[in-house]
């Protein structure tokens, strides 16, 4: 009895391992067979920004039809990982919400920072008693004071002054921030740096910053965590990536109008985001490493950014270089990856017409 059972269990384990090996080889065989017939398969790896990850996930199946011999594997690990892996040569394409800092560029002069699309960020709040039809007005300066604990209550005179007619409660504000390293934190802290001198001097901007300790402040992991925390926390305020806008609104959060450099309060939408992008075309240098936060233009939404592909201009072989080049050219093309069907799903905007050539010029530097 026991012997029989032992045999059975050995068989189970062998079967498990065997099944693994078999299924692996089964999936292998067609891959090999294919590679002998058609053009050689080129494998590209993309890793990095979790904000860009959904877009890459949408691109990959579509690009399969454009270039069947190129297999792209995207993964969401984080912008920092994307930059490091691309620099290291482990992956061909790194994805990042933030451009590489000067030190890293000096260390790795061959690294290109290529904008692929435009993203934005909105400020959301949980304010019971304030109608859903009202969009609270906020400024970067006020947000900086909230996140440093200088402004403690929703009915603070500074907030009340720009929100006449809104009945603000005397309730403590709960600022929510991202705790994992993220491009969203990079964008938000850049806005605070641009609008509040004290913030610029003490905390500055990065994908992860040293948040001032404010009693009651909350941290959350990932945009989903931020939205869920905000939904569950009355009187909270949070910065959320634009792709999570619908989710936040469905969860009952309010969307704030943010003051731009010209003094106007705006919501992020196609018109205000593209206005902001177009207004900064002249400001974008050839290497495209630039912040678009708090830019000029009366109708410009203040929190937008380029979503970057981080690529080494010298690839391992001409074949790989060509594959990377073609993929990226397709990605920024208005009839390819920048098509509105892809963009609207993640609430991104295509590159402005006058910026696309700059990205194109950078992409054309890639060689084997």
């Amino acid at each position: 009895m026991t012997n029989k059972f032992k045999k059975a269990s050995i068989m189970t384990i062998t079967a498990l391992i065997g099944a693994g090996a078999l299924s692996a080889s089964v999936t292998m065989v067609p891959a090999f067979a294919k590679s002998h017939r058609a053009a050689p398969v080129v494998k590209l790896q993309e890793t990095g920004s979790t904000l860009l990850y959904p877009l890459f996930q949408l691109w990959v199946p579509a690009y399969k039809n454009v270039a069947p011999n190129v297999q792209i594997t995207p993964s969401g690990t984080g912008s920092g990982t994307g930059i490091q892996q691309a620099t290291d040569g482990t992956v061909q394409i790194g994805a990042s919400d933030a451009y590489m800092n000067n030190h890293l560029i000096q260390q790795n002069p061959g690294m290109l920072n290529i904008p692929l699309a435009i993203s934005a960020q909105q400020i959301m709040y949980n304010l019971p008693g304030v109608s859903k039809n009202v969009h609270l007005k906020l400024t970067g300066n006020i947000l900086a004071q909230i996140y440093t604990g200088k402004i403690r209550y929703w009915n603070d005179p500074q907030i009340a002054k720009i929100n006449k007619g809104v009945k603000l409660p005397h309730a403590a504000i709960v600022p929510i921030h991202r705790t994992d390293g993220s491009g969203d934190t990079f964008l938000f802290t850049t806005l605070l740096t641009d609008t509040n001198q004290a913030w610029a001097n003490s905390i500055s901007y990065n994908t992860s910053v040293s948040w001032p300790s404010v009693s009651g402040a909350l941290g959350a992991n990932g945009n989903n965590g931020v939205v869920q925390t905000a939904e569950q926390t009355k009187y909270s305020v949070a910065y959320v990536g634009i792709s999570w806008l619908d989710k936040g609104l469905q969860g009952g959060l309010g969307e704030a109008m943010i003051q731009n450099r010209a003094g106007k309060f705006l919501l992020p939408n196609n018109a205000t985001i593209s206005a902001a992008a177009n207004a900064q075309v002249g400001k974008t240098p050839k290497n495209e490493r630039v912040s678009l936060i708090y830019g000029p233009g009366s109708n410009s939404y203040p929190i937008i950014n380029y979503e970057y592909a981080i690529v080494n201009e010298k690839q391992s072989s001409p074949t790989v270089a060509a594959a990377v080049k073609n993929m990226l050219l397709w990605a920024i093309s208005p009839t390819g990856g920048n098509k509105s069907t892809f963009m609207t799903k993640v609430h991104f905007l295509p590159l402005p017409k006058s910026i696309a050539p700059l990205s194109k010029a950078q992409i054309n530097k890639i060689h084997g």
């Binding site: 009895m1 026991t2 059972f5 032992k6 269990s9 050995i10 189970t12 384990i13 391992i17 099944a19 693994g20 090996a21 299924s23 692996a24 080889s25 999936t27 292998m28 891959a31 494998k43 790896q45 890793t47 979790t50 990850y53 959904p54 996930q57 949408l58 990959v60 199946p61 297999q71 792209i72 594997t73 995207p74 993964s75 969401g76 690990t77 990982t81 892996q85 290291d88 482990t90 992956v91 992991n221 990932g222 945009n223 989903n224 965590g225 792709s243 999570w244 619908d246 989710k247």
Partner: protein, 297 residues
Amino acid sequence: MNPQMNSSISDVVLPSMEINSQRRRLKSIALWGVSMASLLLVVLIVFDILFSVVSRGVPGLNWSVFTTQTSGIAGGLQNAILGTLMLIVISMVISAPLGILGGIYIALFADSRLAALVRFLSEVLAGVPSIVIGYFGYMVLVLQFKMGFSALAGSLSLAIITLPYIVRTTDASFRQIPSQYFEGAIALGLTPLMALRTVLMRLALPGVLTGLLLALSIALGETAPLIFTAGWSNFNPNLQLVKNPVAYLTYVVWTYLNEPYKAAHQLAYTAALLLVIIVLILHVLVRMLQRSSTKQA
């Protein structure tokens, strides 16, 4: 039968017996009630965990989960299932021989001080937090040894995690065998290897297999050491051991839960359900093995 037993009884401080024995009996009954309630609570928690995973995972469960690869924000999980299998198989190929041989050695051949040292260090290694292994894997295997995000880097990290468990269970199951068996076989002129193959292995096998299955279920459930070593791939694994990332199920739970789309969340729930189902199967196997081994002893 045990010399210490007598002293243990006299050590016991008896509560004074004069106090109302009725009250003490009631207290005893109440405490047993609390005990049963605790046990019930634990069982209910298990069912709640299972229920919350099953109820959310089942709607996403259909054949295409097994036959298609992850694509975009949805698709199937074939790549993750095969990738998980590949990572586990390779990690077991590395850690099982090392662990079993090592366990046999410290149980039968090593002098007691070396055995104690290895046992202690295995215990420490088992206690190393998995994110530390992940950090190590990323810094050393992925970057230093230039493996990139790959099956090998991921499997090696898993092997480090499972190795001490296999050593420990193998060691324990060989030590359970009375030493006369081994000594007798040697006295009969068998070499240690022959004694092992003919007599001991048969007796220790259920325990060793249990250890392997436990190691398997640990490897299956790990996330932290894989994020920065195995990477992720939308494609089924290939035979390339380095520079090619592989998919695995826990990544889907961790990452897709954080996407803004319902379809992505469904995929995460389904992946969690698959993980729980596999854990359940392994658990049942372990149970059956343990039962067969206790029957033997």
